[in-house]
Symmetry: none
Subunit: 249 residues, 2 copies
Amino acid sequence: MLKKERQAFILHQVNLHNKVLSSSLCTEINVSEDTIRRDLQELSDEGKIIKVHGGALSHSFNQVYFPSIGVYSQNQKQVIAKKAVALISNGMFVLTSGGTTIMELARTLPPQLKATFISGSIPAILEYMHHPNIEVIVIGDKVSKNSKITVGSEAIAKIKQVKADICFLGTNAIDAEHGITDNDWEVVQLKKAMIESSKMVVCLSIAEKVNSVQPIKVCDLGEIDLLITELPADDPILLPYINAGVKVL
Amino acid sequence: MLKKERQAFILHQVNLHNKVLSSSLCTEINVSEDTIRRDLQELSDEGKIIKVHGGALSHSFNQVYFPSIGVYSQNQKQVIAKKAVALISNGMFVLTSGGTTIMELARTLPPQLKATFISGSIPAILEYMHHPNIEVIVIGDKVSKNSKITVGSEAIAKIKQVKADICFLGTNAIDAEHGITDNDWEVVQLKKAMIESSKMVVCLSIAEKVNSVQPIKVCDLGEIDLLITELPADDPILLPYINAGVKVL
DNA sequence: CGGGTTTCTGCGTTTTTGTGCAGGAATTTC
DNA sequence: GAAATTCCTGCACAAAAACGCAGAAACCCG
């Protein structure tokens, strides 16, 4: 069998089944693993396949990509994300809501972090999926098209079954008097369940949303452990929250 | 034998078998390897064949095995998707697996279609989410990074709770004798559950996957109701399936 | 017809290419 | 962490290609 012929066969297999194992190829074609590996290397150099440990993948299926441009207040959110990431250590179970701040957190996760992330937010799940060492658990239920998150009794029931080490809530509004509030009834139900199911609750909020109020209440300040904004912890705007017993980062 | 005669013979052989070996040519025509090589070189310079180490290939070989751009076999998949979409009517509950053929189906859904789609495939969910009138139900569980689909006992349990009107399976391999087979154990478990939970099971498969076999069995032909390929229903390659009682579109 | 030229072919040598193997390094996986 | 895969590197060997050369055939033309 000619080299080109072999490579054509490999390419064909990859495109057909979306993945191939070097081992199965080398028994099928009856050549050494080295030859297969060299072929995969060449095809990969030509950009025709994606070489991975143990085989190769087709290029087509792997391209679900999310540009992160145009996010509102992205710089602030990156600051928040960096502070938040520092709270996550290896082996943790992390529960997250949706929202652009959470997305920023997802993109900031260091590649070597090994943790389990649980979420019902489809965009967040996509982002977690791209990380090499993170296990992703999806909360299933009906998708709310507004918030791109799964909502409903099933989702709440599933959340109640877990006990996460830490929970990150993207926050819509926070206020010393009214606590955390939001404007989507179903999302509020979810967040309540998440708070219940976590040892530690962290609110992520850009300073702009601090001291604002929305119609539906999620929880009192007493139920959250940590508030993260892009401001330094001693900023006077945050004082009421410190006084209310919330740690601020 | 004249040079021109020889080259005509070579060209004929190449077009007939899509490949020739220099070594076999030189015994057939009874000239030295050098002569053959020079002939191949000339034919290659004229663009009539593709010269490779050890012999030569025809251009048609390249066309067959190196589809130029985009998702592999996208045209075929679009044909399949159109046939499949025609089976969905308003109000239906639709269960789908993952894979590029399913993605094509998702993109082909007409905007006015009102239906409920249930899936654990993250890329598919994304696609469904963008449609204006489709309700999306997510099957939750751990995400398999290979297949970008949720897998595990929770997912299977959830699938068993539904009774869908129709189920679309992206097929990795189908064969008259071995039925439907696949190469990922967890995905196979899911597909089995999906088949159980649906009134009607439809297999989507490009013709190239027809009559191929993978290591793990999903089900026998008897369990599927419909097979959709890009070929016309009376193509002889599909005859064994019709004989086995599967409807073909 | 015959000498000169061009083309074609085969041979030996040198290079290049393709393949498999052995070992140690890197990685996955449990 | 430890065992098992898989990967990479260098190497050896074989097959094929490239190159130069020389003899043979064909061709041209006076």
